[in-house]
């Protein structure tokens, strides 16, 4: 039997993180869950272990504490084969317009932390000569909109970072996957009215991530394919009209 591969899931208390980790565990992977709230992460770890019988460990990580990333990567029992980062914070756009602490939190949580962490793993993977990096970005990063451009700008930065990293690592045989889930029914979107056709369940996102990262070899995925034409249409509206739309 092949020795099982290792997944590091960053954002282990989120619904997408839980679903993705469960999908990998069902495929026989050993799972490391990283999260700020260890108690909540342990709840998910116990659940995945009970459902699949695979080994799951919990590792404390604060995505804003970039100074701790180096010691975090060194402290892991095994250097993972795949890192999936699902960290994200929708936040409050209106609040961030005047509250600089909140605005900075959104930019750092959605861009700085995830990008720097994956960048650090990229160096470890280069040294080893193998590894896959998966970043969960957002359709909100495809074009800035008045209702969520702090979040959107950070995700746009993350998307660009992943694209650049992929460009650099591809010749070395390392993979970088960008995931744009679209709307997902999670705690983050609880209470919002979401169009059913455009809204994925967390399990769908987990399945799509596993398929792109471990099977199909695709670089950029929208979880529900319908998002590709939708975002293409949104992207093609000339700015002089777009700026007048209420989005």
């Amino acid at each position: 039997m092949q020795p099982s591969k290792t997944l590091l899931l960053v954002g282990g208390t989120s619904d997408i993180g839980r679903a993705t980790a469960l999908h990998y565990a069902q495929a026989g992977w050993y799972v490391q869950l990283a999260a700020r709230n260890e108690e909540e992460a342990r709840r998910n770890a116990d659940d995945i272990r009970a459902r699949t019988g695979t080994e799951v460990t919990v590792h404390r990580l604060d995505i804003l504490d970039t100074g701790s990333f180096d010691s975090f990567t060194n402290s892991l029992p095994t250097l993972p084969d795949t890192v999936v980062c699902v960290v994200g914070e929708l936040g409050d756009q209106a609040k961030g317009q005047t509250d600089m602490v909140h605005a900075s939190l959104l930019l750092r949580t959605n861009f700085e932390g995830p990008a720097l962490l994956l960048g650090l793993f990229a160096e470890r993977f280069l040294a080893r000569g193998s590894g896959t990096l998966v970043g969960v970005s957002s359709v909100a990063g495809d074009r800035g909109r008045g209702s969520n451009y702090l979040y959107g700008a950070a995700k746009a930065g993350f998307t660009a970072f992943l694209s650049g990293l992929r460009n650099r690592l591809a010749p070395k045989g390392l993979r970088v996957v960008t995931v744009k889930p679209g709307f997902v029914r999670t705690q983050m979107t609880a209470g919002m009215k979401l169009p059913p056709v455009l809204t994925a369940e967390p399990g769908e996102v987990g399945r799509a991530i596993f398929a792109a990262a471990e099977k199909s070899g695709r670089d950029v995925i929208y979880v529900r394919p319908i998002w590709r034409p939708v975002m293409m249409a949104i992207g093609s509206i000339p700015e002089r009209f777009f700026k007048r739309l209420r989005l």
């Binding site: 709840r43 659940d47 009970a50 459902r51 705690q187 609880a190």
Partner: protein, 444 residues
């Protein structure tokens, strides 16, 4: 505010809903509100899981906490669905000790309703198998309940319809099985007397249930198919279906009921045709044991998603009563007679034997339970009031998880444990804080 209803889609009430993401977040939410009750997957038929003002949604409490494959002991949060649990444990050679007629219920709901299965006559209700549970009390306190710790609170919570607090998690033991198949034997009973006798004769079987043709009358009143079953062994597979996979994949029928059908779709003719078909299909297999997948044996209606919509916009009532053994035949016979004369035929009529139960408000008692589905209409209420009278006279009772309309008097007559239950609610401060539409309607 959201409009909430049970599975029968009658009645509907507005309620505020709160959705805690974890068991840790729930107790403080409870302490901050009054007039609330927890809701699992909303499969109670009537108004049991609609808060008087606030309804606590428990879907976020869906983690399995521990599963010991050596002993079969499992600890789960209260919002874990039975369907989810089955997917995890059946392929590993285990089965829940008791399952109700649908797998789309939460473990918390199964305890709060002390659900019974086709094995109640032998194995008791689900509550009898709970080793311990964690309960969030009305004041936000959290306690463990087991046979040794807070036993009074445990027996009030089992079957207590969520009115003692909110169950956060529970620990129970699964039964080991050799395969995922059931060895079923079907017998035809020509009338009610025959059905009751057949159920008594098959009471040595682990599982047994009778499907009654409600439209048969006269000498065939109560004609039934009686399904008895055991968990199949490896040897059963070799004998009855050699080469079959021991744990067949769980498949679910994809046939759904997409829209609300107009009420006239289910009239006497279509129901009669359905029953005739059902009888012929059953009669073919009569007498010989055969193997059937656990899923259709235990959950035949789960294959049709949203089957509750076939009764149309006004919704339907599920009427489930239990009649003590000595009077079962006479009383159930006269109930069936009244129902068969009624224009709104019952689509589904199920007869089962029950044993005693132990929760203060648990439904089962030694006797026979009859379940009928009736679409809501103006003349169905007088019919059911008449049936209630027969139930009360016979010393029987109605199942709270199904109830949407019984009177406080009928309820009080059927549940002698009520005063103890009320005392306990007063003692833990639940009386003014935890209330569902059902508890308000019945004065619990």
């Amino acid at each position: 505010m959201t409009e909430l209803a049970g599975w029968g889609r009658y009645p509907r009430h507005p309620s505020e809903t709160l959705s805690p993401a974890s068991p840790k977040a729930l107790p403080s939410l409870m302490a901050s509100r009054t007039g609330l009750v927890a809701r699992g997957n909303g499969r109670a038929y009537g108004d049991a899981a609609i808060g008087e003002r606030v309804t606590l949604m428990t879907q976020g409490l869906d983690r399995i906490r521990a599963f010991d494959q050596a002993t079969g002991r499992i600890q789960v949060e209260a919002g874990v669905l039975l369907s989810d649990l089955l997917d995890v444990v059946v392929p590993r050679g285990f089965f829940p000790p008791v399952v109700p007629g649908t797998k789309f219920v939460t473990i918390g709901g199964m305890i709060a309703s002390d659900v019974h299965g086709k094995n109640h006559h032998r194995d008791g209700g689900f509550g009898d198998h709970v080793e311990s549970l964690t309960l969030a009390l009305p004041d936000g306190g959290v306690v463990t309940c087991s046979r040794d710790e807070n036993p009074e609170l445990l027996s009030a919570t089992i079957g207590g319809m969520g009115l003692t607090g909110t169950i956060l998690d529970a620990t129970f033991r699964l039964r080991p099985t050799e395969t995922g198949w059931m060895r079923q034997t079907t017998t035809v009973a020509r009338n009610l007397d025959g059905a009751i006798r057949a159920l008594q004769e098959t009471s040595r079987a682990t599982y047994s249930v009778a499907w009654i043709d409600c439209l048969a009358s006269g000498a065939s009143l109560g004609r039934s198919l009686v399904f008895a079953a055991e968990h199949a062994t490896r040897r059963d597979i070799d004998a009855l279906r050699p080469g079959a996979e021991p744990y067949p994949p769980s498949k679910l029928g994809s046939l759904g009921v997409p829209l609300e059908l107009p009420s006239f779709t289910l009239n006497r003719l279509s129901v009669s045709a359905f029953n005739e078909l059902y009888f012929r299909a059953g009669a073919v297999k009569s007498g010989y044991p055969f193997l059937v997948h656990w899923n259709p044996y235990f959950f035949p209606l789960d294959g049709i998603s949203s089957w509750n919509r076939i009764y149309g916009r006004r919704g339907f009532l599920q009427y489930q009563c239990v009649i003590p053994t000595a009077q079962a035949q006479a009383v159930l016979g006269s109930m069936l007679e009244r129902v068969s004369k009624h224009d709104n035929a019952s689509f589904l009529a199920v007869l089962k034997q029950l044993g005693a139960s132990h929760g203060d408000l648990s439904f089962p008692l030694e006797g026979f339970t009859l379940t009928l589905d009736l679409p809501v209409s103006d003349d169905v209420f007088p019919l059911l009031n008449e049936l209630d009278r027969l139930v009360v006279e016979a010393g029987g009772r109605l199942y709270l998880a199904k109830d949407a309309r019984q009177s406080p008097a009928t309820f009080e007559a059927g549940y002698p444990g009520l005063s103890r239950f009320r005392d306990l609610r007063r003692a833990i401060g639940a009386t003014d804080r935890i209330s569902s539409r059902l508890s308000v309607r019945l004065g619990i």
